[in-house]
């Protein structure tokens, strides 16, 4: 039996998302390892242009078009994918470890009986068995994972880890499949997208960003750090826990679910360096981290580090930056 690797194409508002190309990248490597071929699975409404483009990066593009597939809806996606799985028996189905994938992969796994490993940062295929590498305990430890023997597997892929598949001259075929969906889907309905408004400064435009994390302990320290940011000619930003605790508004958040920034200088104070944060700031020209935990993952991405309590350092920096202004 010819092995097949499915990659579920992730798209939003008509645009294919980057994680798709990354999945095609890792899927291609696994296909070469396991003598399998790579299939992009494209579910949507009027997807012809996307299909043509994806055909330059996969040996086959399976397309299912349906009104109900225009926006991501896990109920519809799951029905269609489960039906494609029972027809094509893919050895592995790759899905993004994203807001869409996290809403879909676990229930698909239960329905199909295919074991699932989520949030993979490494994947390999040995004798039709999947092995994965995951990052756990806030990025402090990695784990090698094996999955129980099965006809098929599902893995969700962390975005920003795997190199994307580039387009090639050789084009894969496009196969249209009819939609198994019928009638209206009542259990879950897409209503609308909502974009968060920008209330203050746009942090994505700043050349210097001073960013705070949960490690600053409380909102009482923010005015002092705000002043440092101002003295340096920069803006104040933060990581997710700071927004969750209402110390700063959402439009200040750097991270997967917030803004992606690429300033000249990024000064991270009390930020541990969770993947969700790092992935959105690692494009900065220079990263400086202040953290009292010398093992904090932020130091692996920073150019310069200060291992100390920020309260020992920031008051001095505040005075010095004020004098230098």
């Amino acid at each position: 039996m010819m092995n097949e690797i499915f990659v579920l194409v992730e798209h939003r508002q008509g645009k294919v998302r980057d994680v798709t190309y990354e999945m095609l990248g890792v899927g291609d490597k696994l296909a070469n390892q396991g003598g399998a071929h790579l299939t992009a699975v494209l579910l949507g409404k009027e997807m012809k242009n996307c299909a043509e483009e994806l055909a330059t990066r996969a040996s086959k593009v399976l397309v299912v078009e349906d009104e109900n597939l225009e926006h991501f809806n896990s109920v519809c996606y799951q029905k269609v994918l489960a039906s494609l799985c029972s027809k094509y028996h893919p050895l592995l189905t790759l899905i993004g470890h994203t807001a869409f994938g996290m809403d879909l992969a676990p229930s698909l796994s239960v329905e199909t009986g295919f074991p699932l490993v989520t949030d993979c940062i490494g994947l390999s295929l040995e004798n039709r068995r999947i092995k994965a590498v995951r990052s756990i305990y806030g990025g402090k430890v990695n784990a090698n994972i094996s999955l129980k023997e099965s006809e098929g597997y599902i893995a969700t892929i962390r975005s920003g880890i795997f190199g994307p598949k580039t387009a090639s001259e050789k084009r894969g075929g496009i196969v249209m499949e009819s939609s198994p969906l019928s009638g209206t889907i009542d259990a879950k309905k897409f209503v609308e997208y909502i974009e968060a408004p920008i209330t203050g400064e746009d942090i994505t435009q700043a050349e210097i960003i001073v960013s705070v994390g949960q490690g600053i302990g409380g909102p009482e320290h923010i005015p002092m750090i705000q002043e440092v940011a101002k003295n340096l000619g920069g803006v104040l930003a933060c990581s997710r826990p700071v927004v969750d605790r209402n110390w700063l508004p959402k439009d200040r958040q750097v991270g997967i679910s917030g803004k992606t920034v690429k300033p000249k200088i990024y000064l991270a104070i009390g930020i541990s360096g969770a993947f969700q944060h790092v992935t959105a700031m690692q494009g900065s020209e220079m990263i400086i981290a202040i953290n009292k935990d010398s093992r904090a993952p932020i130091f692996a991405v920073a150019d310069y580090g200060i291992v100390d309590d920020f309260q020992n350092v920031i008051p001095i920096l505040k005075e010095k930056s004020k004098a230098d202004k």
Partner: protein, 255 residues
Amino acid sequence: MDITVCVKRIPKTAEADIFIEKDGKNIRKDNLVFYLNDWDGYAVREAVLLKEKHGGTVTVLSIGPEESKEVLTRCLAMGADKALRIEEPAIQDSHLIAKILAQAVKRQSFDLILTGVQAEDDGYGQVGVSLAQMLGLPHAAIVNRIEIKGESALVKRELEGGIEETVEIKLPAVLTIQTGINEPKYVSLAAILEAEEKELEEVALDKFGLTPNEPTEVTVDQVFFPPVGKMAEILKGSPEEVVGQLTEIIKKKKG
């Protein structure tokens, strides 16, 4: 509106020194402090807020060792009405956890089940959505707002890049709760003492016809420290000296 919330007790690893067990399959836990998973704390608070608005009860549920009673008591102090602990200290497999939870929640009536999006320790982000499928219920993951509208709920899901989507979902349903959905409330010592009087039931796994030797879908073969790539150049000296160096670096970069 009766709500069941599934919670997990986890070790705090941020700002802690991490050591690996001799067998290489997990980290050492004896030097770590344990607490209620952050996401689950938001889920419990959300359940209590919904109860205050719509009436009903909140039941919290945890699979874990004897010590999990501490986090369940904390949930009771946060406003949950009763708690159930399922005795099973070692299971790490998300699929199996969902299977046990599915058996446990079936014993009571509910309109809504909440879990955290994921646990801070192993971060599979899998249990809530698997549980929904096992129970044959609709679900929504990564929810940061819930509005109950009769037989259904209007929920907001957090997507990437600062965008959210609204979906309408039929009840009963399973929702996995994102941090920041509400404002956590301070839990007083008095509330904890009062919570110790509330109902906390403990049951063994065999009550659900399951044993600790159920097959698992994933196995951890080995844990290891991530390979060290490029590391930051650590500035050395007194705080004054360090800030001096830092200022020079920033000045030079600013040009």
